[in-house]
Structure formats: C-alpha cells, structure tokens
C-alpha cells in the first residue's frame, strides 16, 4: 500500500484501530470502561481534525472502491461529531443506569466504522457491508441491557425488520449488478442514462430504494421506528436517529447521484420516491400528534423528516442533493440535543418520559427549557434557526424540478407538525404543577447541549456558507 493511500483512508484507519484497541483493552484491563471512554474521545477528535484538514484532497483508492476527501470527509466529520456528542453524554447516562461497560463504546465504534464506509464506498458490495456492520451494531445496542424487557423487544423488532429490509436491498443490488454487469457505483453513474432504459435496472433501483427506506426511517419500512426509538436506551436512539439516517442518506445520495445530470429520464423512479416522501411526511406528522411519549413523538417526527429529505432526492438536481446534506447536518444537531435532554430526565432504562414530565420545566430549569424550546422551534422549521433552511433548500429544489406539489405538501406537513413541537413548549412554559423534576445534569451533558445549540443557531445565521461548502464538494 502506498503512503498516499494510507493517508487518504486515515480516518477509517483511526476508527478501525480504535475498535480493535478497545477490544484488547476490554479483554485485558480490569477497570476498562473509563480508559475506553477517553480513548474513544481522543480518537474521534483526531478523526474530526484529520477529516477537516484533508477535505481538499480528493482521491479514489483500492481499485475505485473507496473515495476519500471532499464530500466523503464532510460526512466523516458529521458522523464522527455526532458519535462524539453521543459518547460524551452517554457515559453519565449509563453510569446512572448502572450499566456502564466497555462494550458500549466498542459497538458505537463498529457502527461508526460501518457508517463511514457507507459514506465513502463507491462499490455496492462495500456499501452493503458497511450497512450491515452499522445495522448489526445497532441491533445489539438497541438491546444493550438484556435484563430490560423494553430493550429486548426493541432489538428483536429492529433485527427482524432490519434483516427483512436488507433482503430487499440485496435483491436490488443483485438486479442492478445483473443489468449493469458491475457493482461499481462510478461506472453505474456514468451509464445511468442508458441503464434507466432497462426495466431490470429500474426494478433494482426501486428495490434498493425500498431497502434503504428502512435505514432512513421512511415509508414503507417505517413501522419499526417508534418502537425501536422508544425501547432502546435513549442515547442509542440519539445515535440511530441521526448518524444512522445520515449514513443511509449518504449512500442513497451517492447511488442516485447519476440522476442529477440534466439529460436523465428519471421520471419513473422520481415518482416512486415522491410517493414515499409524501406518505412519510403525512404519516409521520399526523401520527406524531397523538403521541404523549416524547421519544415516540420524536420517532414519528423522524419519519416526517425522512420524507422532507426524500424530496431532495426526488428532485434529482444538485440543489436537492446538497439541500439534503445540509438538512442532515442540522437534523443531527437538533435531534441529538433533544434526545440528550430526554435522557437527562431518566435514571434508568425503564423510565418513560412523557409530555407531562415537561410541565413547568421553565420554572425549575430555565436553561434546559430554553434549549428544548429552541430545538423544538428548529425541528418544526421556524425561520431564524437552522431547521428552516434545511426545509427551504429541499423545497426550493423541488420547485426547480417541477415538483411543486411536493413542496406544497411539505409545507402543509410542516404546519401540522408545528402543533406537536410547539405543544412541548407550551407544556414547559405555560403549565405549572408542584412536583419538582429532577434533571441529572453533568458538565459533560451541558457541554454537548451548548455545542448543539451553537451549531443550530450558527447554521441558521450563515446557512449559505455551509451550503456553498457542500455544493463545492459534490462531484
């Protein structure tokens, strides 16, 4: 292996070496959990710094299977930042629940490795393996505390439906291989125009889309989302709903990038994607109204957000793709912060946080209430925050691509969803009761929350900077 290749894939090497190192530490060192915690934080910070420093060096490695630099490094940055935030706050959560083991970090790292591979892979075989690595780690993480029935059930559901969906994904890849005679995404993207004339390829693409819809939590494989997000440990839900979605959309964007060239006749596939988007948006935001459990509500909202993001893919232009990436970045920060706020109110895995737990939070913990309110405003897409621009870009892309009806339905769905987001704010600020809520906060959690808040505000103030960055690196 040449030195240059070695440097190109250094982020992946760091993460994989850390995985192995943590396993050795866990095996040979008695009080391993704290050491592993710090080891993972250091290696994630290294990954973050390195992927930003080398963002301008774009390369294809290992017979065009692995891309490095540019948009890939941007994804590396987002994925490892999300994992870092989750890991920092997870330690105290797990200590509170008295279930703090080194395995948690090993599994987070192996899932991160899978996600990074999904974002950087340019071969469908590698994409599939990355996806499986990520999913298998998530299945275990969802059932992390095997003594808690909630965790067991969440992981069983996640596992059965996930394996079912990966069957569809695999069939899709097989048919794409059958029509394109290759699994290399770059070759497929080059031939996209001719391949779309083959029914075999279109069927493969549709099956691939159905398989991915499981991972991005959109219709038709959305039934698992509320149960799994509710049943898993809250910090795990935070990671699944953000980094998992980002990685799956990264792979989707890479596979569908060929559709952005103007001469492609993408209509059939675009139509299917837009149906999925409409169904996800409406089902997500209407069902969320009925939820009183906060994690379930965020789960349904996650389905709706997947729908908004699919609009960007359906519009099949550059703005749509970069809009989706922008949306994913904002969404990661918003959702991590919301889930961590929920996790602060839990002291074991079996606690369920409902809307009533938020009553009067503004009086007892004004800062946490303020952050929660801000996240809810941002999630609902109100103007000055980052969440607004995420939606704005994908809707704009849809209008540009003559899919105005998608944008209209998106706006309607946003209006519906504003109801349940703002309800949380109303509960916090305009209702009081005597009962005093405990918030188990530590400085680590505060740090994560402040960081997320700053990012969401920053993305709302200067969205153009980030969008330009993304557009510059899209091939």
């Amino acid at each position: 292996m040449e030195q240059q290749t070695f440097l190109n894939i250094l982020p992946i090497l760091i993460v994989s070496t850390t995985t192995i190192a943590t396993i050795f530490v866990e095996a040979f060192y008695k009080r391993s959990d704290n050491l592993i915690y710090w080891l993972s934080i250091v290696s994630l910070i290294l990954t973050l710094i390195y992927s930003i420093l080398t963002i301008n060096v774009q390369n294809l490695n290992f017979s065009n299977t692995l891309h490095s630099g540019g948009i890939t490094n941007l994804f590396y940055f987002v994925l490892s930042l999300t994992s870092l935030l989750v890991i920092i706050s997870a330690r105290d959560y797990l200590l509170r629940a008295k279930y703090h083991h080194g395995e948690f970090y090993i599994l987070i790292f192996s899932s991160l490795l899978g996600m990074m591979l999904m974002a950087s892979s340019r071969d469908l075989i590698l994409t599939f393996l990355g996806l499986e690595l990520m999913s298998l780690s998530f299945y275990v993480l969802a059932g992390y505390n095997r003594k808690v029935l909630f965790n067991n059930e969440a992981s069983l559901k996640y596992f059965l439906l996930g394996a079912f969906a990966s069957g569809f994904l695999l069939y899709g890849i097989a048919l794409i291989y059958g029509s394109a005679q290759t699994t290399n995404i770059l070759l497929i993207v080059n031939e996209f125009n001719n391949l779309l004339l083959k029914p075999l390829f279109v069927l493969g693409l549709v099956l691939l889309l159905i398989g991915f819809s499981f991972k991005v939590a959109s219709v038709p494989f959305h039934m698992w989302v509320p149960d799994v997000y509710e049943g898993s440990p809250t910090v795990v839900s935070a990671l699944m709903s953000t980094a998992g979605k980002t990685a799956a959309f990264a792979a989707l964007i890479i596979s569908f990038y060929g559709s952005t060239t103007s001469q492609v006749n993408f209509e059939i596939v675009a139509k299917i994607i837009s149906y999925l988007a409409i169904a996800s948006m409406l089902i997500g935001s209407i069902t969320a109204i009925a939820q009183t459990n906060l994690k379930r509500m965020l789960a349904y909202s996650s389905i709706a957000h997947a729908g908004y993001m699919l609009i960007g893919i359906a519009s099949a232009n550059k703005l749509g793709m970069s809009g989706v990436i922008f949306y994913l970045i904002v969404y990661s920060f918003m959702n991590v912060a919301s889930f961590i706020l929920i996790s602060l109110m839990e002291n074991d895995f079996e606690k369920r946080i409902s809307l009533n737990d938020f009553i009067g939070l503004a009086n007892t913990h004004p800062w946490y209430a303020a952050i929660m309110a801000l996240m809810m405003f941002a999630l609902s897409g109100l103007p000055p925050f980052g969440g607004f621009f995420g939606k704005y870009y994908v809707f704009l892309a849809a209008i540009k691509a003559d899919l105005t009806y998608l944008a209209v339905i998106g706006v309607i769905s946003s209006v519906i969803s504003a109801y349940f987001y703002l309800r949380v704010v109303v509960y916090m600020y305009f209702r009081t009761n005597e009962e005093r809520k405990d918030i188990f906060h530590t400085s680590a959690d505060n740090f994560v929350l402040v960081l997320c808040t700053l990012f969401v505000l920053q993305l709302g103030i200067t969205p153009n900077l980030v969008l330009d960055l993304i557009t510059r690196f899209l091939p």
Binding site: G143, L149, N152, E153, A163, G167, Y177, Q181, P226, E230
Partner: protein
C-alpha cells in the same frame, strides 16, 4: 442449456416464498429462517448473473453475503435468547409492550 430467465424466476419464487413466510409466521426463529431463505434466493440470482457474464465479482458478493449471514445469525439468535430469558416466548405477537 437453461436460459438465464429460468434461474431468475426460480430465485424470485424462493424470494417470494420467503416474504410470505415472514408475513405469516409468528415464531421469531422461523421468521429468521425465512429471511435466510430470501438471502439465499438473492445469492442464486447473483451466481447466475455472475456465471452468465463470466464475471467473478457476483460470486465474491455471495461470499460476503455468507459471512454477513453468519454474523447476522450470531446476533439475531443472541437477541432471541435474551428475549426468551425475560419473556419465555418468542412469539412476535406476544412481543407487544409496544404495538407491533
């Protein structure tokens, strides 16, 4: 000489039988076995494309699918064991703290 489409329709049939199994059976282990059936149907598709094109990468994909299936079996059956210990059932209809 058997044309390619016969292999494809056969593996599509296996795949569909797997789907029916997943949708009808309630025993978690049997559902998982039906998923294995689906994965194997895809393997047949991949191998037949690979042979008809004379290109090895399809067969290598099957290689990886097998490795993934092994790891998936390890993880999935561990999950089933963990659930069984707490609940003494693996009927997915009874796994209903949440709505299925």
């Amino acid at each position: 000489m058997i044309p390619l489409k016969y292999y494809l329709i056969l593996s599509a049939a296996f795949f569909s039988i797997g789907i029916i199994g997943v949708l009808t059976r309630r025993n978690a282990i049997i559902i998982f076995m039906c998923i294995e059936l689906m994965l194997n149907a895809v393997n047949l598709t991949l191998v037949s494309f690979s042979s008809f094109f004379g290109d090895s990468s399809g067969q290598i994909f099957v290689f990886f699918v097998m490795a993934v299936a092994a790891a998936e079996a390890a993880v999935g059956l561990a999950i089933i064991i963990a659930l069984f210990r707490n609940k003494l059932t693996i009927n997915v209809d009874e796994v209903n703290i949440f709505k299925w």
